[in-house]
Symmetry: D2
Subunit: 343 residues, 4 copies
Amino acid sequence: MDLTLTEDQQLVQSTAREFLAGRAGADGSELWKEIVDLGWTGLALPEDSGGVGSDFLDVCLLAEELGRAGVATPFTPTVAAALAIAEFGTPQQKQDVLPAIVEGRTIALARGHWGAEGSDLTATPAGDGYTVDGRALFVPFAGEAAELLVIAGTVVALVDVSTPGITRERLDVVGNEPMYSVTFDGVSVAAQRVLADGVDAVTAYATVLTCAEMVGGAQAVLDMTVDYATQRRQFDKPIGTFQAVQHHCANMAIDVLGSRFATYEAAWKLDTGQDAGTEINTAKAFVSDAYERVCALGHQVHGAIGFTAEHELHRYLRHATAAALNHGDADFHLDQLATRLGL
Amino acid sequence: MDLTLTEDQQLVQSTAREFLAGRAGADGSELWKEIVDLGWTGLALPEDSGGVGSDFLDVCLLAEELGRAGVATPFTPTVAAALAIAEFGTPQQKQDVLPAIVEGRTIALARGHWGAEGSDLTATPAGDGYTVDGRALFVPFAGEAAELLVIAGTVVALVDVSTPGITRERLDVVGNEPMYSVTFDGVSVAAQRVLADGVDAVTAYATVLTCAEMVGGAQAVLDMTVDYATQRRQFDKPIGTFQAVQHHCANMAIDVLGSRFATYEAAWKLDTGQDAGTEINTAKAFVSDAYERVCALGHQVHGAIGFTAEHELHRYLRHATAAALNHGDADFHLDQLATRLGL
Amino acid sequence: MDLTLTEDQQLVQSTAREFLAGRAGADGSELWKEIVDLGWTGLALPEDSGGVGSDFLDVCLLAEELGRAGVATPFTPTVAAALAIAEFGTPQQKQDVLPAIVEGRTIALARGHWGAEGSDLTATPAGDGYTVDGRALFVPFAGEAAELLVIAGTVVALVDVSTPGITRERLDVVGNEPMYSVTFDGVSVAAQRVLADGVDAVTAYATVLTCAEMVGGAQAVLDMTVDYATQRRQFDKPIGTFQAVQHHCANMAIDVLGSRFATYEAAWKLDTGQDAGTEINTAKAFVSDAYERVCALGHQVHGAIGFTAEHELHRYLRHATAAALNHGDADFHLDQLATRLGL
Amino acid sequence: MDLTLTEDQQLVQSTAREFLAGRAGADGSELWKEIVDLGWTGLALPEDSGGVGSDFLDVCLLAEELGRAGVATPFTPTVAAALAIAEFGTPQQKQDVLPAIVEGRTIALARGHWGAEGSDLTATPAGDGYTVDGRALFVPFAGEAAELLVIAGTVVALVDVSTPGITRERLDVVGNEPMYSVTFDGVSVAAQRVLADGVDAVTAYATVLTCAEMVGGAQAVLDMTVDYATQRRQFDKPIGTFQAVQHHCANMAIDVLGSRFATYEAAWKLDTGQDAGTEINTAKAFVSDAYERVCALGHQVHGAIGFTAEHELHRYLRHATAAALNHGDADFHLDQLATRLGL
């Protein structure tokens, strides 16, 4: 058992932190270009695809720093798709897509029958390939993406966003990520664009990366709250000298550390090819709740000042509430955990 | 012990509910005019001041309906000020202010040394009256009000907003109510505008009215969530048939009913002239947390659809988070309760 | 709306409190005799049955004081049965049973198909009456009772404990009340011992009385904890001067007061013949959880001293955990509440 | 990062589990003898002291299995003392004590000024050594131990229990461990029995071992609850098919896994000589609450059957409530965490 970062991992982390400092609210496409230039999208991809061949854990460290910095990028869906393609794609698919991702191509995940969201994608066999119909609601970055990784039942396929029959409609949502409804009307998918498998893989990678982003966000809220508690004075002493405020902050710290343990354990199991199902369900259910608790306590310590519109607490609260639903809410993961327990 | 509404109270409630239906987001000044025409601002004021002489409980029923409808008005500060003036004002003060309030004059509460908000008003004796200096942060409706009820230490005084030395600056906050920072720079207050007393009274009335608004808001969230659970289908049946969703809704209902009990018990004690301190602390601490729990569960049942920008859940979540801080957050009231327990 | 006690109710309360002071752990049968002599079992029964004709609320005040004193008696099942008989019994049944209850006869409630407990009583028509078979698990005071009120499906009947075919086996349970498994092997019940109705009534009365006992127990835990916090010193000052301990006690006080509101609202609705279903479900679910929270915080404030075997905290924790299950646990009442919400 | 068990660790775990199966409630001294014969007390001690030289993590695995089996032994205080002596003892002290511990000598920890428990040990310099006075309350296994590790302020010393001036009084507590009040009346401690240091070390080892025991206990409660949910039928199907029961069990599983992460992270930091303070505070605060939540949900799923006196749930609930206080309750560790956060 060994949970500290290696020197390389520390370098990944500190470089990312430095690069992202003060970038909250940065222009998305410009930031994405810089991220690509830094090589982040290829970090865990094989070297023969133009990647660096690092571990998935290193990618999680980047996701954590993105969450900490409060920036919204297509990093998670793009990398989750890339890792699934690297694992289950044909040589041709890998050659077509992976180097392009290393160079900055973005991918969004369009999924059917996911949770309560009204997605109802179907893939009907047609010739060697499939015809995809239906609608995927709440697809982050679908409008910005060059390609969609479509998941309909057990079918996973790459689809260019310009394929006839695809309509992407921007939704007006509360949240930091651009969100789309994507409609498929008789969209043809050729056999050579269908992956051998990958539903579970893309789900696992995307869920754990989302958890890592949340860990980073929760850490940022803890940091700004402790900082505020030491500076803000009331009755002639810092509010951080009141035991109630101290315990609020300590409880936040416990939730942040617990979230980090759960997330990196799941990441490590994934990385080493073990069955990570229990750890992923545990991480998503725990971290989703913990991040919301951290934001609530952060707001309580900040008091009314936290409600001024420009306060960055809002960005994190929006992130927490949206990310809690991404890739399954608490009820969804509790259901899965119960099944794993034999119930 | 008797907690049902009288016929008169039922009439107040149903009339208000009908009037406010569909008014969420209505233009504030137009709505206020209609509210005044309906006689709400004078409902609990003495008849010789132009009021109706009803109970404070009736006013709470109106506040609950305002919260339920999701509208933001200066009702709570105006009525809390009016009731304190009716109780502690001189005959001249009553004559000057109460009939005007019945006719629609609005009053904002500018308070010093309240919680962690940086307010630091001081009232220094000057001649027969006082000079008020300092700043009151987070004063709802200060920009719209005609008068301020200034609370600085034990001094309570009426101050016209046009008095030299007063600056009102709109704050950009997340929340439904317009919020202001009000600065006092050597503001002269004549003796005849100072109330005999009233700090506790105005605090008590404003706190309980705020609780009543929150009860109404929580009820609205419960109603829309149950409604959604019966209509939204997943796996070919309404999501309200899942036991997890049923229990979420049942837990929301318990919080709403518990909040209503706590609030009306405090209101009733106030109405009958009993010491309501314990009940007010209990109500504010319990209802603040309960409303936030209700919103969180409402979001969980709604899933991603609750994050579309036009969804009215947001209005209530903003209300819950802002109202939780108004007139003291949970820590503030826990401190007071502990004192009442002898600790 | 009016929740204060009348003078008569205050007298009931203070007399009971004085009588019960220091009786925790008293010999059960001696205590029961005194309770009967005080007229408690007949308090809410009609005068023509030898009772006093008081309200159900007064009986709840007695149950609260019994819970507060930490004594275990057959008061709740006996009075719940008596009230149901007074409401749904034939004149002959009333005459047979009610004066006897006023004189001290005790009744236990043997119920089938209740929760997860393995009870499976059936009542099969036989002649004019029924044959009862099966087993009722966890029947408090069945061994001490003179009669059983048997509830099997929609059948409610009085059965003498000496009727052939009845076996009562004492269970070794953690809890303050003597608990029995009662087996029915072809037990004949004559038509004249069957009530016209009463399943809902006896359930409602017993549930609310159980809530009242829990309110009393929670109040006792709060009182002893505040007392300990003011006396016990650490680092040369009372532990009650630490904000964390103050907030623990304040949170306990909120739970106690909220429990009292919920319980007495349900009692009052029952008393006035209104549909009290929502209030009863709310009370049982809320109070069960609140009492356990109060005991947990009480233990935290007391620290290790609370674990000495003779400490009276244990009595209340046992009461809280057992009473949380009596007449349906939280899941049971959440299910019922969801049904009332239309889910 | 790597959290799976090595083959050696898996062997330690499976051997311990097999050995302890069915030993709950076993005679303590006989069990201790067998544990010693298995070499557990020397597992992490240096080979030149007769130990095996394994990691502290391996010892934690044993503590987890002891907690899982529901047995109470002096393993935690004895091993914590041994590890501190191995780290901070003189060569002579090591030679005197460590081989004896390997052979079965037991040590209890007598600590002053710990939490709210009334302990007030003082060590006054006297000659080359100290005179110890005062009382240590709630010392587990003090009556069975051959030696005490006395911690008074910054002084850590080994004291034979037969030293004149020492009185050990058995306390009658609710809990599985025998508990004592130990009084010191002018007890002389020679210089050669005083350790160079070790307050923090013995605290850290004992706290983490206690967490490991709690992890094991929580796992046992989860296992028996899932087992019950699959076997117990209600309305003709296993109760484990109800979503509410499934979510209770899944929430228990999350708490167990989160507790294990937190505990082993702290253990691993200790093992590798890093500053483990934050991890220890996090683990003790989190695991204490989590274990109590697990027991509460276990009771809810079991229903009344869980209250039969012989049900093993009680053993674990007693363990959870007692262990939550050992080595600092949640408030204590929140205070320390706040300090580490700079508050």
